[in-house]
Amino acid sequence: MMTFTLWDIVRNLLLGGALTLLLSMVAFVLGGLAALALLFARIAKHRPPRGLAQIYIEIFQGTPLLLQLFTLFFGLSLLGLDVPAWLAAGVGLMLFSSAYLAEIWRGCVESVPRGQWEAGASLALTYREQMRHVILPQAMRMAIAPTVGFAVQVVKGTAVTSIIGFAELTKTGSMIANATYQPFLVYGLVAIGYFLLCYPLSWYAQRLERRLYATRTN
């Protein structure tokens, strides 16, 4: 039997952690871009795009991420595509993120008071111009804190991709735990790894929120 030193364990976990980080960033950035498209559909003037975007968002917010990954993974293989785990993980997490981000951002757009739209309209700005010059700048400011907050959910969401076999931090942890028979130590280290990734984001999101709140109330 192979023996693992603590350093062996940590080294392997760091590798898995790097993949977790990479997957999180890819899913967050691509998901954010998709969310932008989704957002504009969701707040469009016309009904069809609004309805479609709403259905998409409700499906992804109303079902477990794990099942989304399973369905995607096995659905694609039905189409004859042999998807590697990393691809299914990336695409799945991206779709998941896009739905949540679009909904968060829609909330921000809608919390801009109606009077702002009307002031823009009364100055003869078109809908697009009102959106671009009046609404979005204000909504973006409000969106920063919850968006950073959601990044934490994305990082945590990557753990679920271990179940479809993507060798990120949790999967690496499981393999080492099985090999070393030291589950408490290994999963403890894994948890610490996630905490180190997530806590700074949570902290920053809270600070942003408090600052925004402070400027709004005085």
Binding site: I163, T170, A191
Partner: protein, 223 residues
């Protein structure tokens, strides 16, 4: 070559599916209720800075909110036995969910308590409410009313998250789905159907929580 979709397994496995659904509902109900109680206590400790619980709660909240549920589950189920704490799959699953809901609801309820206007407390004091009455009627009830939507969402999110309990073989819905697809080799249909069931459950749980919120927390006055 065309693939024929086949959902006929539903009938064959209906009892198992029902068991899985019931198990997931159980995890959600017990996790949501006990978790919310823990969260209420936590919110009280944090709001009044009751030492040393306020600090302990803060650590607990941050730890659970900044690590994945799956890892918490593994740590409880696989890790704790090496400290001599042994649990069944079901016990580990429900414990993990309770702790998770507890952590999130602590912060949610705390936000509600902190939003109590000072004037309301003073008004109640001037009406000679006792401390306990002030806390219950002026702070907690309005706070719960205010944060009920956020709390409901969190409970639904926990229900959806409970799917990963299948990984420690707790017999909830996803575990059942895994089992069925290993028998019938119809992975896509099985998972698709299971996803749809979760969707319906999320909808129903949200509606029920809305109803509870409307009638039990807001307390519509009788006509």
């Amino acid at each position: 070559m065309t693939y024929q979709f086949d959902f006929s397994f539903i009938y064959e496995y209906r009892a198992m599916l029902a068991h899985g659904i019931a198990y997931t509902v159980y995890l959600t109900l017990v996790g949501g209720t006990v978790g919310t109680l823990i969260g209420t206590v936590g919110a009280i400790c944090r709001t009044w800075d009751i030492k040393p619980f306020a600090g302990l709660y803060q650590c607990y909240v941050e730890l659970f909110r900044n690590t994945p549920f799956l890892v918490q589950l593994f740590l409880i189920f696989f890790g704790l036995p090496s400290l001599g704490i042994r649990m069944s799959e079901g016990q580990a699953a429900i414990l993990a969910i309770i702790l998770n809901v507890g952590a999130y609801s602590t912060e949610i309820i705390r936000a509600g308590l902190q939003a109590t206007p000072k004037g309301q407390i003073e008004a109640a004091q001037s009406l000679a409410f006792t401390r306990w009455q002030i806390f219950f009627y002026v702070m907690l009830r309005p706070a719960l009313r205010k944060v009920w939507p956020a709390l409901s969402s969190q409970i639904v999110i926990s229900m959806l998250g409970s799917a990963v309990c299948s990984q420690i073989s707790a017999e909830e819905l996803t575990f059942v789905a895994n089992f069925i697809q290993s028998r019938n080799f119809r992975a896509f249909e099985t998972y698709f159907l299971t996803t749809a069931i979760y969707f319906a459950m999320a909808f129903l749980i949200r509606q029920s929580l809305n109803l509870i919120g409307r009638y039990a927390i807001v307390r519509r006055p009788l006509p």
